[in-house]
Symmetry: C2
Subunit: 399 residues, 2 copies
């Protein structure tokens, strides 16, 4: 990382991250019930019609429509019954939701729309062929694609795949991620601070944020501000992980060894410094297939950079079709004076009728990130935003 690297734009930096990342080649077959948050690596094809038979959509009576309005009830079919009685003209069966409709019936009438007297059922509404019958294969046909490669598997997907009898899926492996935390000033929690020290929190935070997104294979590695130690630690971290996130040490101070160490061990700089606030001193590099981010030491800046640059890398790497956080345009709830000229990401809170930019935008302060459920993007050279103007609002993960 040289002092005079040229600042690149956010768009260019995001494009470079995607250009230099690739989908993992490791595909794992796993039980459907464990596949939540993984990305499907092979299309799932349905091996059955769903529903597998013509299914009653109502509790009522099934029969073949004739000119008569009164039918004789000759049998009963419940959900789960393996029964397909042959109905003669004028005959009906009592039937319940989910039960198979006899092949010889072409209508199901709701029980609320008939009059019953003994075994006689009289219809009290106009009839339509195939009414209240879910056709075989109407949700999905045998041989059709149930879920496409690249889909991130959600709870509803698991329900749908279970309904067509799927028990195993092939998904992309998740990356193993090292979080390298640098700085002599950092003390582990649980011990008293000496003058000049602060508690380590970036590693803990990034690990928790990764866990929130479903990435559990993370290790936190701490290293003092020492050139040789930094070099050795980074080299080892790169050898055994897919992604290395370094926090701190990417500024230009004489004691920021990270840049020099990365160069010395052969990491190729893709970009260093982005025209943005916060997170100007962001570094991205590659060594073989391993991606290395140098995130700012300030926690709020590190977290913004995580969502804007690391998140898409993670998504691309695990084969997801969507690599960005969802963003929407929302009106801002009060006037906002923009400080500085650089493009900015501001911590914000979405409300029912608009988005409010939060107090406490300092990069050093992770506290207000907790209250944020969105980041508002302000393009460069925007002096002021008026209440009601629509701004690009990036939704943070919500549960």
């Amino acid at each position: 990382m040289e002092k005079n690297s040229t600042l690149i734009s956010i768009q260019a930096a995001q494009a470079l991250v995607l250009k230099y990342s690739s989908v993992t080649s490791v595909i794992v077959e796993m039980d459907l019930c464990n596949a939540l948050d993984y990305v499907l690596a092979i299309n799932v094809i349905s091996e059955i019609d769903m529903p597998p038979f013509r299914q009653a959509a109502m509790d009522g009576y099934a029969f073949s429509i004739s000119s008569a309005i009164t039918y004789t009830v000759v049998a009963e079919i419940k959900a789960g019954d393996n029964a397909n009685p042959i109905l003669k003209e004028g005959e009906a069966v009592r039937i319940f939701t989910g039960a198979p409709v006899p092949t010889t019936a072409n209508a199901v009438i709701m029980q609320e729309k008939v009059a019953i007297q003994g075994h006689k059922m009289t219809v009290q509404m106009p009839l339509v062929v195939e009414m209240n019958i879910r056709p075989k294969g109407s949700q999905i046909k045998r041989g059709a694609m149930a879920l496409a490669k690249g889909t991130k598997i959600k709870g509803a997907h698991i329900g749908f795949l279970a309904s067509i009898g799927i028990t195993k899926v092939s998904v992309y492996a998740k990356p193993s991620i090292a979080i390298v935390v640098t700085g002599n000033e950092l003390k582990a929690a649980g011990t008293p601070l000496e003058y000049g020290e602060i508690y380590e929190s970036n590693g803990t935070m990034l690990s928790a944020v990764l866990q929130e997104l479903g990435y559990l294979k993370t290790s936190i590695i701490t290293v003092a501000d020492d050139y040789d130690q930094t070099k050795t630690t980074l080299k080892e971290a790169i050898q055994v992980h897919d992604i290395v996130l370094v926090t701190g040490g990417v500024s230009v101070g004489d004691y920021d060894f990270v840049g020099k160490a990365l160069k010395a061990i052969g990491v190729k700089e893709i970009f260093y410094k982005v025209k943005q606030k916060p997170g100007k001193p962001l570094f991205f590099g590659k060594m073989g297939s391993v991606s290395i981010f140098g995130l700012p030491g300030n926690p709020a800046a590190a977290l913004s950079c995580f969502y804007i640059y690391v998140y898409p890398l993670l998504k691309k790497g695990e084969g997801a079709t969507n690599t960005q956080l969802l963003s929407i345009f929302m009106p801002i709830t009060s006037d906002y004076d923009v400080k500085g000229d650089r493009a900015q990401f501001l911590k914000a809170q979405i409300e029912e009728d608009g988005v409010q930019i939060l107090e406490g935008q300092s990069s050093a302060f992770a506290g207000s990130f907790g209250a944020a459920n969105a980041l508002v993007f302000i393009p460069e050279h925007t002096p002021k935003i008026k209440k009601g103007e629509r701004v690009k609002t990036i939704l943070l993960p919500i549960k």
Copy 2:
């Protein structure tokens, strides 16, 4: 569940769910790093000032402002140094971001804004008292509240709490949840279907959706359409869980035993049937402190009811301040003809400029729920919505 229960409104049903649910009395102390997704049960008070000392916000030089513009650099302070040199008039120290600023200094100047000649440093910009110094306690003061009871703990919160040295937090216990799946027609995945059978999927789906939200203490219990067995199973489930979700069996068919069984074992009906689509035959009852939901058997209807009614119960029970999913008003991206008169929840996809109502709204079909990232609420008696009209859009959990 009697046939003639009066339908109540969505608002009334939601209010009853909250009225009849209470915050758990079980409070657990746990390691901060395991507390993700739990709700804080006791305010966290900071035991330190953060930062704990006056902290340099830049790499540069610290000194006491005088009439001179040239200062002699007498020492160096890095982040983590336990050093507080006494500076005389005209003296400066080289200082790095995060390092403690000497008590005798009242300004830090960026290294880019000075000229250096040997040990002499000449300032090249106007000086302001306390510039580039983060005051002690400026993020949070010792004794101040760092995080309020009722906050659901996110990754950013964990980062912030770690930064003030917190290692343990007291949180509300999560409920244990039984999912009781009813229906003779249900077959376990992995075995071939007989005519009339379908694969069990509601239990798998609800368990996955709960897992997505961070609820891991769930058990799936299946029961055939048999009155005595249903009664015994429900009784046992209620005895050992905090929440029981029953799917299917809440309709009025002669073989839906759930209603009768719940009544027989002493579950108090709070409401049964809601004026809504999907999910009309929704049941909510209480037995002691245990909440029992009878969800519709149709998977998409069950899932809608889960987000609208069960989610708030879960949040209230675990002590969260926010009990509802986030909802916003968004313009609809194309005209929509509303079917029927009941208030509706429609599966929808949020895009950058509006919300699109998805195809495939059938209650029986969980598939389109996978593509949805929101539910659009349509009030009752809405015949048509025009493109561009703003509709209430409930955001589903996103990662």
